[in-house]
């Protein structure tokens, strides 16, 4: 039950993810290429050697680190038979339950004919080894969760591999579902998206618990937008209310490319999301959006890093949290501008809507600017609901929960409106609504 202390032996830092469990996991991956097995071994070493986060770690400030645990999870959970998972986004092209693909990948013929690849990581290791090797977990972990990222790298067994070749534009989104099922299931979802030169696509990740059990999710998504590519990435997280989740995003944006990502956070008891955007060449633009509805005693912990590595790059972050009950949110964001990244245009904003007196939002915005000709703006605000506003809604016959929902949508509108796709907009609205109808 109690969290391991700092002085305990290394194995106390691994919880359920013991060396024996790792050996069993590796044994089941015999068809994996040698380089990947080697990477997994190295990752496991890193995972086991790193301490658990400490309260005093700057990158875990305000987090309830005492509640973090690696104990009591099923490392290789069985896949329940006959489980059918409907995604609100539509039939998934790739659907994983407990790390395993549950139906053959499906993709429109048109996309296949144009060379689009939508497959599993395991399959890509055989068919596209160089791409996988070059992009899979290839970026630095700078936001505090190196231990958990290593855990992910060590235990990931499969995931989504999406490749959009040069010049190909997809009109409809590619949909991926990652589900956890059964008591204490540990899942390691992964989605890797490579959009080549001038490609254009939308990818949706849907993270969901198939039942109300406690789950442990430790996932990552790697996004790569090549020269002039336009990538939209939506991730909707709706793990069960007692689950713990860690999700690591890495976005690499090349010359004149544009990535828009929107993360919707709804589920979990404690959910941490780390997002890194690297603007690597002139004209690169990363738009980082997030919406969170936190209620009960949920804790959502979001850490972001926008790194401008080249001149004339742009990033625009807008994270909005709506907090109810005794929920907590943490936002810590940093903009880094490298010395030669002149004409950087960086924006970072965290806004919190406090729908309850007892909710708590912490914000830690930051800047590290080494160039002299830049435009960087950052800010954080937390605002309580004006009692007069609330009374106004009530006086029209709208109940307290419906009033909160209405005010939350009013607050979220600015972010949702940035999405070009109306159907996606509607699905996200529907998911947000479920949070008020529990």
């Amino acid at each position: 039950m109690s969290a391991p202390t700092l002085t305990s032996a290394t194995d106390s830092f691994v919880g359920s993810f013991t060396a024996e469990a790792f050996a069993r996991h590796l044994a089941a991956l015999s068809s994996s290429p040698a380089w990947w097995l080697e990477r997994r071994r190295a990752a496991y070493e890193t995972f086991a050697s790193l301490p658990l986060p400490r309260r005093t770690d700057e990158s875990w400030r305000f987090s309830n680190v005492a509640a973090l645990t690696l104990e009591g999870f099923q490392v290789e959970p069985a896949v329940p038979a006959g489980l059918f998972l409907a995604s609100p986004f539509g039939p998934a092209h790739l659907a994983f339950v407990n790390n395993q693909l549950v139906a053959p990948p499906s993709l429109p013929r048109e996309a296949i004919e144009r060379g689009v690849v939508v497959t599993t990581l395991a399959e890509a290791a055989l068919t596209h080894p160089d791409l996988l090797r070059g992009h899979f977990m290839a970026q630095p972990q700078k936001l505090g969760s190196a231990k958990y990222a290593a855990l992910h790298s060590a235990f990931v067994s499969d995931g989504a591999f999406i490749y959009i070749p040069r010049g190909v534009e997809l009109a409809t989104p590619i949909l991926v579902t990652h589900a956890a099922a059964g008591p204490d299931a540990a899942v390691f979802p992964h989605t890797l998206v490579i959009a080549e030169e001038n490609a254009k696509a939308t990818v949706v990740d849907f993270f969901v618990s198939a039942d109300a059990s406690t789950h442990f999710a430790c996932g990552a998504n790697d996004l790569y937008a090549g020269h002039g590519a336009q990538l939209t990435y939506i991730a909707a997280q709706n793990w069960s209310g007692t689950s713990r989740s860690f999700q690591f995003n890495s976005t690499v944006v090349r010359r004149d490319a544009r990535v828009q990502s929107l993360n919707l956070h709804l589920g979990g008891r404690q959910a941490r999301h780390e997002s890194l955007s690297q603007l690597q060449a002139p004209g690169a633009f990363s738009e980082m959006l997030a919406l969170t509805v936190a209620d009960g005693t949920q804790e959502f912990d979001q850490r972001t890093l926008q790194i401008h590595q080249a001149p004339n790059t742009k990033s625009d972050l807008l994270y909005k949290n709506a907090l109810r009950d005794q929920a907590r949110t943490i936002f810590s964001g940093l903009i880094v501008v490298d010395p030669d990244a002149q004409k950087t245009d960086a924006y970072q904003s965290n806004r919190n809507l406090m729908l309850s007196e007892e909710a708590e939002a912490s914000s830690l915005p930051g800047l590290e600017i080494q160039a002299n000709d830049v435009r960087c703006t950052h800010g954080a605000t937390s605002s309580r609901i004006d009692p007069e506003q609330e009374f106004y809604l009530l006086s029209r016959g709208i109940g307290k929960t419906a009033a909160d929902e209405m005010l939350t949508f009013g607050f979220f509108e600015e972010v949702l409106n940035r999405l070009a796709s109306d159907p996606l907009h509607d699905v996200l609205r529907g998911l947000i609504q479920t949070q008020f109808k529990k």
Binding site: Q389, I398, A402, F409
Partner: protein, 254 residues
């Protein structure tokens, strides 16, 4: 037919008693004007009836058709038929008028019942036309950046859509120029009828030229001190509130 009975109502803000024994019965079909100088408790009365949490009802009762509403939350009172037209309506950024009213109407429906969207919009546009509100307003946020006149028209629009049994109109004329006042009055007059009772709170008699009341009451120091028909409003206009204050002081002295 419905009745709204306000019985010997006492209302305090914090420790300070503002309404001191207010009694009035409003039946559907009737328009009652309550006039009085500033600070006499008119707004407090309307907000307390609507259930504003800052106002404490220390004694007395408010009943709709014999049922007390004082145990009800503000949203329940609204669904029971009370509508408060605010003197200073709140701005609700990001919530469009269309969604706001839709939510308010949905709240009045049984669980599982869905509002018919096309019928809703048809009715909304019809009421907006009547109140000379540009249809583009449906997608604008509620009261956000509205002029005083626009806000008041938006209040009347909500009243028209929600069809309350009793409307408490708090200084609806304040901040309106004569054209806006006429539009608002036309809207209220169009709603007058056997199913609506109105409590019209006003400082000035001007509004009563456009919405002609059935009864006029003068409120002073937290209660009604004089009642009459519409001629009382004219008398008040001619003599001023000092006349009431003086009479009230004399009555108290006896």
């Amino acid at each position: 037919m419905s009745s709204l009975e306000i019985k010997n109502l006492h209302v305090a803000i914090g420790e300070k008693e503002i309404v001191k024994g207010f009694t009035l019965t409003i039946n559907s079909g009737e328009v009652h004007a309550v006039m009085g100088p500033n600070g006499t408790g008119k707004s407090t009365l309307s907000k307390a009836i609507a259930g504003h949490p800052d106002y404490t009802i220390t004694s007395g009762d408010v009943l709709i058709d014999g049922q007390s509403i004082l145990e009800q939350e503000p949203d329940e009172r609204a669904r029971a038929g009370i509508f408060l037209a605010f003197q200073y309506p709140s701005e609700i950024p990001g919530v469009s008028i269309a969604n706001f009213l839709r939510g308010a109407l949905q709240a009045r429906m049984a669980e599982g019942e869905e509002l018919d969207a096309s019928a809703y919009y048809k009715r909304l546009y019809q009421k907006m036309d009547l109140l000379k509100i540009d249809r583009k307003f449906t997608s604008r946020s509620v009261n956000d950046g509205f002029s005083g006149g626009e806000k008041k028209r938006c209040e009347i629009l909500q009243m028209a859509m929600l069809e309350p049994k009793f409307a408490l109109m708090d200084e609806t004329d304040s901040g309106l120029d004569i054209d806006a006042l006429r539009i608002v009055a036309d809207g209220v007059n169009a709603m007058r009828g056997p199913t609506l009772g109105v409590l019209l709170i006003t400082h000035y008699q001007r509004l009563l030229d456009y919405i002609v009341p059935d009864h006029v009451h003068v409120m002073y120091d937290g209660r009604i001190v004089k009642s009459g028909d519409k001629s009382l409003a004219l008398e008040l206009e001619a003599k001023g509130y000092d006349w009431v204050k003086k009479e009230f002081a004399e009555a108290n002295a006896r």
